[in-house]
Amino acid sequence: MLYETLPGGRVRCHVCQWRCLINPGKLGVCRMRINRDGTLYSMNYAEVSSMAADHIEKKPLFHFFPGTYAFSLGTWGCNFHCKGCQNWEISCVDIPRGSQQLLPESEIELTKRYNCQGIAWTYNEPTIWFEYTLDSAKLAKENNLYTVYVTNGYATPEALDTIGPWLDAWRVDVKGFADGFYRQLAKIPQWQGILDVARRAKEKWDMHVEVVTNIIPTMNDDEEQLKNIATWIRDNLGELTPWHVTRFHPLHEFTHLSATPVSTLERVYRIGRKAGLKFVYLGNVPGHEYENTVCYSCGKTVVHRTGYDTQVVGLDGSRCKFCGAELNFRT
């Protein structure tokens, strides 16, 4: 789906913002779509690389059905090739022999079997098995399950609009806020479209949106980028949008870098709060007080978290049960 045929048997894929022009017999940048005689085929439909019943907090989504489990699946490959990818074993490879298939009907069965309240397409970029996630999302909604994309945000507006009616949450990375950073991290030339699509997810489709920035020492830990991210979130997604700033661990091609000091994350927390964001969270620092949700109005803790262990103590729907302030929760 979402491609156009061009003279000479070429096609242009419109699933992600690379908008690959693909010659006959060739693959897109994701290496999961192939042009066979002028028709674009998905090679990884239902091909699962990873699958687990995860806490929704692991995505991370903190304001979306807190304390529930999301049946979480990833496939092979990715349209980004980030140098610090923590899931590079599945994102930087082709489909291996022996890969398992899981058809959407079975995915729903397993979601229920493992007592999950919804499905998250996660671990690598969901749009690279777009047709599968679309079929699955439709079935999930028929079965009263929530649906989540954990995404780098590089989907096209057309792709978003195609799956929009069946998608509840857009957990998007804003990895940095500079051309040079995105180019250096993942060779992405035009990253601003990520912002446009995130805003569209919220405004057009009323999706619940949370933003993640993995703080990589020397790469995106400068004041300017972080301030710009926080300000952009505030102005475009709203001050109640959760911003997760997560600790980087040296992996893949970034093993020469050190893990993010907790003091750096605490500094980013302050940048976010100073910019006006009401909910800034630290990630990959289990037990830190900034994992909790504190009501910005009355100062009481409404959700306690330690790692992925979650205790909701002060919510009344989406509001603080102590003072009634709106806290932007979906439950």
Binding site: M51, A52, K59, P60, E89, S106, N124, V150, T246, H249
Partner: protein, 54 residues
């Protein structure tokens, strides 16, 4: 620690399948047995109709 990182890919359920020679796509096709029990279908005695064993 690494396995517990945010959004770290985990394969727990997939590994269970492999270990028990489960063929995922037959869950939906075969469904539970007459008692509503999936175990026979998932981990049961016979081989699947297509002969794949994962």
């Amino acid at each position: 620690m690494r396995e517990g990182l945010i959004n770290q890919a985990t394969t727990g359920i997939l590994e269970q399948w492999r270990a028990k020679n489960v063929v995922a796509q037959f869950i939906g096709r075969d469904g539970p047995d007459r008692l509503g029990n999936y175990e026979e279908v998932l981990y049961g005695k016979g081989t699947s109709s297509c002969g794949r064993t994962g």
